[in-house]
Symmetry: C2
Subunit: 307 residues, 2 copies
């Protein structure tokens, strides 16, 4: 089945307690497409970069089966750039610099042969841009997953609510779930958000794992306890990529299969944080992924027989 990934392809400069980088490749769609590519080959990317963006990375995406027909390359313009510094606990960060560049006037164009796509992943972007993608589709996808962030809740809540009404799965973090719902309890927050449009909600809790809710059920996927979290950038996007990549591969959008999908998503996130940027996610083997999944199984599986 076809999978369309929409989001930023960009430059990041990152400082963590373990070191700092110059401009390296980042962006939500980069992480999503890379993570999804370990499960699914029929992927198309809708995004925009400037002519400063490295061809090497684009070739890497192509080599992993990502179709770049929907990637606009703006001559004479610069790619989106974000710079941030993580605090010692790695759970919070300060933005040092944001240069929108090509994103400022980004008008997404869905390639003709992806207008009837089966799986759609709307990575974190301005809700109006996410909406523009939805408007170009000629058939409703089997599954629409959307990621967003507190920034859009602060400045574009109406547009965000309009977009939420049209999607199937929302992925946000715990503080965003609280902000969106006005509820502190994540259980109450989930029930409220599930009246806004999404039928399924994923609440990402970083090093504390992720919760998967529908109206009747709840499932919890742990994060892998790691010796060091080197760079959390892209963890949530890698999670989303593993999640939708696994669903697209298995063509099964039941809640049972979504449980498996968030374990695969958690596994991809656990790789991403082990090195700066996309480095770790580029060179995984299938064996690496399988072994990591086994670690998740060992981490939480227990055997209690109730009478």
């Amino acid at each position: 089945m076809s999978l369309l990934v929409v989001g930023t392809v960009a430059f990041d400069a990152i400082e963590t307690p373990f070191g700092k980088t110059d401009k390296i490749v980042g962006g939500a769609a980069s992480y999503i497409a890379l993570a999804a590519s370990y499960f699914h080959r029929n992927i198309s990317l809708v995004s925009v970069v400037g002519d400063d963006f490295p061809k090497d990375f684009l070739n890497t995406l192509t080599s992993k089966g990502v179709d770049l027909a929907g990637l606009q390359v703006k001559e004479g313009e610069k790619s989106f750039f974000w710079s941030g510094r993580y605090h010692n606990d790695m759970n919070s960060r300060d933005t040092l610099d944001t240069q929108l560049n090509v994103l400022e006037a980004f008008d997404p164009v869905v390639p003709e042969n992806y207008k009837e796509v089966d799986f759609l992943m709307l990575g974190n972007l301005m809700p109006l841009v996410q909406q523009k993608v939805l408007n170009q589709l000629t058939r409703r996808p089997k599954l629409i997953v959307l990621d967003t962030m507190n920034f859009w809740m602060d400045i574009a809540m109406d547009e965000l609510m309009n977009t939420l009404a049209q999607i199937d799965v929302l992925t946000i973090n715990d503080s965003e779930a609280r902000q969106l719902s006005g509820e502190y309890s994540l259980v109450k927050a989930a029930q409220k958000i599930l009246t806004m449009g999404p039928k399924v909600l994923v609440i990402k809790k970083g090093e504390h794992g992720a919760l998967l809710f529908n109206k009747e059920e709840v499932f919890f996927a742990p994060a892998l306890p790691l010796e060091d979290v080197f760079d959390p950038t892209g963890a949530g996007d890698s999670f989303a990529g593993g999640f939708i990549g696994y669903l697209a591969k298995t063509q099964d959008i039941s809640f049972e299969n979504m449980k498996r999908a968030i374990i695969f998503g958690s596994a991809m996130a656990s790789f991403t944080v082990e090195k700066f940027g996309t480095e770790r996610l580029i060179n995984l083997s299938d064996k690496d992924v399988q072994e990591r999944i086994q670690e998740f199984i060992d981490l939480v599986q227990f055997d209690i027989s109730l009478v």
Copy 2:
């Protein structure tokens, strides 16, 4: 097998965003003994109260199979009293008042028929008092579990380290694990603490679950996502009580069985936080416990077959 529980039996006065209590029954050993009593009947309590302590609660303990021969009742003295106020996030609290009273000169006396006890739970207390209990035993227990807190790391680290060298399982929370080890990563913290004496470490993360480590393995038990956490007081003690109660019942101290035991511990903690004080823990049925365990199974069990 016999189980000896050492710790405070006391009064608490608690404020949470949901309300406040007058003096109600609390204390680590109260919660531990109550939680353990759902799994095991052969329990003895070593503690101290004043003559102001309600006979009703002591009768409740007796009715649940808790032997009070080791509970000293000091005539003319007052029971230990703690008062605290929880912040809105329920993860942090301020101590408003601490009155040591009978605890000040507490000299624990282990009843003769418990000096060869099989399972020993040393609830949070001054390390020297925990040590005095160990010194009275005439045979090493099959399993010694110790709970402690940051307060003793601040003022009695040497005594704490001496006691740690003699135990099997340590239960502390995440910030205490970081303080004790000087490591931020919980994986690194665990490996360091496991060189201090304990062969197994449980790191309690409150609403984020609990981690179980030995030198080679790690297991994660989630906390149940609850609509409301009403009063977190006693959650960690209830966890410890469920943990050691289940181990004493099954007489199996393998790592595999400890995985089950921390699920039972997490279940008991999830009950405790639903009401103020010990209220919820007093009136559970076996069916309540079984249903709660099933909720934990449903929360984390998934089915991934690796090739």
